[in-house]
Amino acid sequence: MLIRSSPRLRQETNREPRTGRNPLSQYLFVLIVIACAVVVFFGARAIGNDYVFFAGYTVLQYVVLATAWNILGGYTGYVNFGSAAFFAMGAYATVFFHKLFPLPIPVLIVIGAIVSGLVGFGMGYLTLRLRGAFFAIATLALAVVLQTFVVNWDYVGGSRGAYIIRPSENVLTGPYIQYLFLLMLALVVLGLVCARGIERSQLGCGFAAIRDDELAAEACGVPTLRLKLIATTVSGALMGMAGAPFPYYIGYLQPSSAFGLEYAVNSIAMPMIGGTTSWVGPLIGAILLGSLQQIATVTISSAVNLLIVGLLLVGFVIIAPNGIVGLVQDRLRGKDK
């Protein structure tokens, strides 16, 4: 991995990132992603069954979480075990404002992004100056502590949980679940564009430099702490966004469901299985694993499906370190020779 990424390192020092050569590609990419999203939305409508939207929402939510996790974990190599905490922060920000003053969901998504982004920034500021392991441990502990706070905070329902009654109709799309689905689809577009943009920019080169050799990057003048803080903030904010519409989706939010370990596991397992070095990996991983889980939950049981995710994670990490994308790349490279 060190050898493959060193050209990127050189690009960073030459100040010649890839986007400089082809600025159109980013706009084209945005258009393509939006077109795909539109196709997905109308395709789902054409099936004409609300369950498709309920199941699809969960898969899309995982796409956002996995992409967000990968911006920090895949690009800079810092492991975040607290995805559930960032997700839940977004969800509980919504519950809080729902009780205080009803706001439209897009505004709540922005609020969720700000709250989780700030938490990400604070966590990063306290722990990222030390070794990477400390950050990982701190994120693990963060989930437990934030859950403790929420359990003790009666205003947002405490350990009893909070009810959110969602309207049954929406002017834009008809059934409300379709509206939520559409919002999540928009977040997926945002997440993917963000991830690809970062990957191809100078920022992404800096991230890759940190991942490959932080000391060397620092010595080359890469502002490592600032870049890492940007990564934690962006990643946290995206996770918060994914969580913000969740109370409306589930209708009844309790701490153990918002802070569920499955979010943390899935948002690590999906990029790991898909491949962590590019934006495609988390997308593939999330769609595959997310759909598999939806099917397994219905046909087998939810405990077994979590076991499958755990075993896949361990298996892929040991056997295929670069995920599905890595396997495909190896295959293609093998053909070239």
């Binding site: 492991v79 990477g132 392991a133 400390f134 437990v144 077994v304």
Partner: protein
């Protein structure tokens, strides 16, 4: 808030006893994370595994949990050595331990928990032993044996490990692995073999810690998660790789948690460890007795 002297004294005693138990839980991480630099976040999962083995043998044969844990030591040692072998072959050899190694342990943690849930369900399990229940009283001081026995066992384990690390060749080689692997190779000791032994010992301590855990409180598969923050907070607070530091930090955290639950309510106790961890990382990352 009624701050009576009795309450204060007993909060301190309860905290110290709890801290002794925390030391038993943390001492393995102190070896794996502190000395070997292996961030084994699956440590609590092994502890819960130890608890369930203690529960099974206790409920079917009526053996004392602590004796069970001593019988299980070799099995857990082998388990640890096996896990290290996989970890070394798949990650450490390639310098991939940060991202993939961590994910590997996280996956292990998760798989163990889900497997235990599938086999035993989420009911709370407990053991029976003669010392669970009675307490000793000295004036206003209460010593519940349920806490005292684990604390003393933990201190005994700490003593044995400390002697082992400072007096035997292998023990000193384990401390040396943390400092200079090349020098160790020149002394004709394979760092990988030494690390395997050390990791085996680290997992072996979870057999004891698990038995102590199920003596102190009823156990269900997800209890382990609460201990992740605590374990690493103690480890960092004590100073990485320092066993005496670990014991002192464990007692300190025990007392702070005991005060929090006595004066603010037990539901706040899990947040304490995190606060301690963050404060330590922010102000003294090398810990109390750090190298």
């Amino acid at each position: 808030m009624d701050l009576s002297f009795d309450l204060l004294v007993n909060a301190v005693i309860a905290g110290v006893l709890l801290g002794g138990f925390y030391a038993a839980v943390t001492i393995g991480v102190s070896i794996s994370f502190g000395i070997l630099d292996i961030v084994n976040i699956a440590h609590p999962a092994f502890i819960i595994l130890g608890s369930y083995i203690a529960y099974i043998l206790n409920s079917s044969f009526g053996i004392d949990p602590i004796i069970i844990s001593i019988i299980m030591l070799p099995a857990f040692y082998l388990l640890g050595a096996g896990v290290y072998q996989i970890y070394y072959q798949a990650f450490e050899r390639y310098g991939q331990e940060s991202l993939r190694g961590l994910s590997f342990f996280f996956g292990l943690l998760f798989v163990t928990e889900v497997l235990l849930i599938l086999v035993f369900g989420v009911d709370y399990r407990y053991v029976e032993a003669s010392y669970i229940g009675p307490s000793w009283h000295f004036g206003v001081m209460d010593f519940p044996l349920r806490m005292l026995v684990p604390c003393l066992t933990a201190l005994a384990m700490f003593g044995v490990l400390q002697l082992f690390l400072s007096r035997t060749f292998i023990g000193r080689a384990i401390t040396a692995v943390a400092q200079d692997q090349l020098a160790l190779r020149l002394m004709a000791a394979s760092p990988m073999r030494i690390k395997r032994i050390a990791f085996g010992i680290s997992i072996a301590t979870t057999a004891v810690a698990g038995a102590l855990l199920i003596i102190i409180q009823p156990v269900e598969p997800s209890v382990g998660r609460e201990y992740i923050g605590r374990v690493f907070a103690i480890c960092v607070l004590g100073g990485l790789g320092s066993l005496p530091g670990t014991v002192i930090a464990a007692m300190l955290l025990g007392v702070i948690e005991s005060f929090t639950s006595t004066f603010y309510g037990p539901s706040w106790a899990p947040a304490v460890a995190f606060g301690v961890l963050l404060l330590t990382l922010a102000f003294r990352p090398s810990g109390l007795l750090g190298r």
